[in-house]
Structures are given as C-alpha cells and as structure tokens.
Symmetry: C2
Subunit: 257 residues, 2 copies
Amino acid sequence: MRITLIGSGNVATHLAAAFKNAGHRIVQVYSRDMEHAALLAYHVKGEPISDLQRIDPETDLFIISVKDDAIPSMAKELAKFNKFTVHTSGATDLATLSAIVPKAGVFYPLQTFSKEKEIDFWSVPLCIEGVDEAVTVELEHLGRTISNNIYRINSNQRKTLHLAAVFACNFPNYLYDVARNLLKENNMEFELLRPLILETAQKVRDNLPADVQTGPAVRQDESTMSNHLQMLENEPQLKMIYELLSQGIITNHKPRH
Amino acid sequence: MRITLIGSGNVATHLAAAFKNAGHRIVQVYSRDMEHAALLAYHVKGEPISDLQRIDPETDLFIISVKDDAIPSMAKELAKFNKFTVHTSGATDLATLSAIVPKAGVFYPLQTFSKEKEIDFWSVPLCIEGVDEAVTVELEHLGRTISNNIYRINSNQRKTLHLAAVFACNFPNYLYDVARNLLKENNMEFELLRPLILETAQKVRDNLPADVQTGPAVRQDESTMSNHLQMLENEPQLKMIYELLSQGIITNHKPRH
C-alpha cells in the first residue's frame, strides 16, 4: 500500500517503520516541524513535508497521528482528496473523523512507544474500527501485515481501553519513580528494584493480577502498613496514595480466613 | 552448608530450592502445619517437622522465614542451640534477632515469589546484613552460591527498600487488576493489556522511570484527563486514585514548554 503519515511523534515513527519493513511504501511524512518530518522520512524513505499544500494525492491511506485536538483540523485539510483516512488515537471517537472523511477508520496500537527503544511490532495489539464492514476488513488485512494481534474495538470500548492503559502503564511507571526516589534518598540504587518490577509484570502474563497479589495489604498485615505510613509521615501525597491503593487491595480481596 | 528452614511459605520454598540446587544440604523443614512442612521437605530432601522439640542441632544455619511477628518467638526457641541464625524479612530489624541469638543476620531476597511460578534465583537481589563484619562476609559467601546480586543493606535502608517494593510491585499489580476490571465490564480481554504491561516494565531496565513517563498527565493533556475522570464518575475510589497519581506525575515533571 502507498501510505502517507500525518505526524512524526512516537506512534507515527513506530508505525511507519513497521509498515516500511512489511513492504509498504511510505509516500510522505508530514510534520509542522520540517526537521521532525525529515528525520522520520529519511528512515522510511519517504518525502518529508511541512506544508499541507504539498500533499501528494497519489496515496492509498492517510494515517493521522497527531495530538488528539488537532485531528479534526488535519482531517479537514485532507478531506478534499477523498482517500481512506484513519487516526491512531485511543481517546478519539471514530465519528470525529467520519464526520469529515467518508472512508474513515481507527488504527490504534495499544503500546507505550519511546523513540529510544525498538519494539517488536508483531506483538503489539492493534485495535481497529471502520465506518463499515468493508473498511473494517480492509484495516484487518492491513493490520495483519505488521501485527499478530488484531482486535475489533468500537469507539466506546476504545475509550475504556485507553483509560485502562493509564492504570496499567502510566500509573505503574509513576510508582516505579516513587520507589526510585525513596531509594535514592537512602543511598540505594534503582538497580535493586529492577528484577522485582520485571517479575511483577511477567507474573501476569500467565495469571490474572488478582490471583498473584502479594504484599502487606492483601495479607491484612496492619502492623507493616502502619509502619509504612509512619515512614511516609513527611510525604502527605505519598501517604494518601499508600492508603488509597492499600484500601483498594483490601476491598478487592476477601479476608483469607 | 547444612541448612534448616523455619517456615514453609513462598520465600522459604524458593530459598530452599535455590540452596538445594547449589549443593547445600537441607537438614529439616519446620512448619506448624505438618503437611506444609512435608511438601517442601520432600522437594528438597530434608526432614519435615512440625514440633520445635524435634529440631536437629546438627545444622550450620537456621533460616527463619515466618510471619514478621512470629520471628522473636521462633528465635527464642532456637537460641539454646547457639547457631548462626538469620531472618528473611524486609520489615524487621536485625536487632529483633540479635537481641536473642548472638550470631545473627538478615538474608532478604527482594523478589515477589509465588509457589506456582519458577524463578531464576541468580537474578534475585539478596540484601544481607550481619551483626559484625565476619558474619556479613559469611552471608556474602553463602549468598553468592545462589545469586549474582548481593547487596549490603542495613536495617534502616531495608525498611525503606521494603516500602519501595510495595510501590514498585504490590501497587502496580493492583493497578493491573483495576485495568482488568475496567476491560471486563466492557467485554474486553485482559490479554489486550499484557504486551503493554510487559513493555512498561522492560522500559525501566535501561532507563529511569521519570525519563520514560508517558500518558495524559505528563503531557498535561487536561481534556483527556477530564474525560477519564468523567468515565470514573461512578467509581469514587478509582477517581481519587486517578487524581492523586496524575497529580503526582505532574508534580514530578516540569512543564514541557
């Protein structure tokens, strides 16, 4: 397929590389910032542009991968070409796009992308949605050229999924940071926690999280929890987080009597 | 070394297996519950006992791996043998043990152990502390027979480490559970989130968490955050967790202007 990328952020970068590797042709990469466009375009052998007037109409698919609130204005600029157009946002309805471009879809890769880190795209869940069955099937075919995990997810589900991803990814990473700072204040290396963090994530590959919950809260070990709260006496925010999350664990688990 | 295990929980089970594999001899396994003692003892070819009167004094090391508040009473029972004695607790001072047994130490493996899941013990950080340099060195030597990651950690540091482990392991696992429940209510499989969870943990193997934070809070994406809070309108606990953790992320990151 001939593919044009609108955007050059983390999602656009990893998607473009995956499509290129799968044999698709990246026609152009658009970014407001020519340097960003050029950097990505160079890697995927497309043409960099920073001016939407220079869009090449000889493409099969526009992938809009920009900040959520910029999606409608981008779609309006592309509408005149009347091409197959998708966005990659977890938090944006399909209707936002389909109100502007008739042949619209969503192509949402559920992963945390960093430019510094390579990723095996075959394992990335691709959540797709099309305006009709034909578009959906076309997106499924396209998705299968880069990933083994294709899911049909409607706009309502995708919003929940996006929220769930904040709980499963962004918040745990913040808690790693909290742990790192606690160690640093006491002259200990973050290195100490890395095997624990990895094992915690690996455990839920084959188990449900509720079945492998460990720690003082699930044991209802009041004395350890009260010691921990005392240690957080000068960190009211962290103390509140500790209390809330411990209460959540206790609520989700029946006493083990 | 001849090693006697006091306790048959997750930590005792994984430690006993690691020591047995390294060529040490497991003399006895004690548990109040004879079935538990027998199960572990069978795997490591030791003698199961459920009565402390039957302790074999021909051992080099007692490893007390029981609930924190049972450590002193166990130590008192073992004091008469006057042997090298350690506990495996993250939350218990060395002094709790050394007040009762002179040759005392701590041997705290920083990992989340489940009986269902095998673990590569070589990568488990072992946090050790002895009453004096000779004991500490002896524990280092012992530790090196089963792990490549030996750390000298004093009692104060270990308490902080234990607290940090709650933030880095127990709380993230709870958040995975929250995410799973959000998906379940909307007819989506937890499977969808597993690659994301694993990648989030793998990212901090080579990076510090603050450097790879993603999501609406670090982007200060107010509109996504307010949509998410609206979706949690009927879940006041989760809403509070969302607000607190997002605020924590915002506080830890300067605005990206």
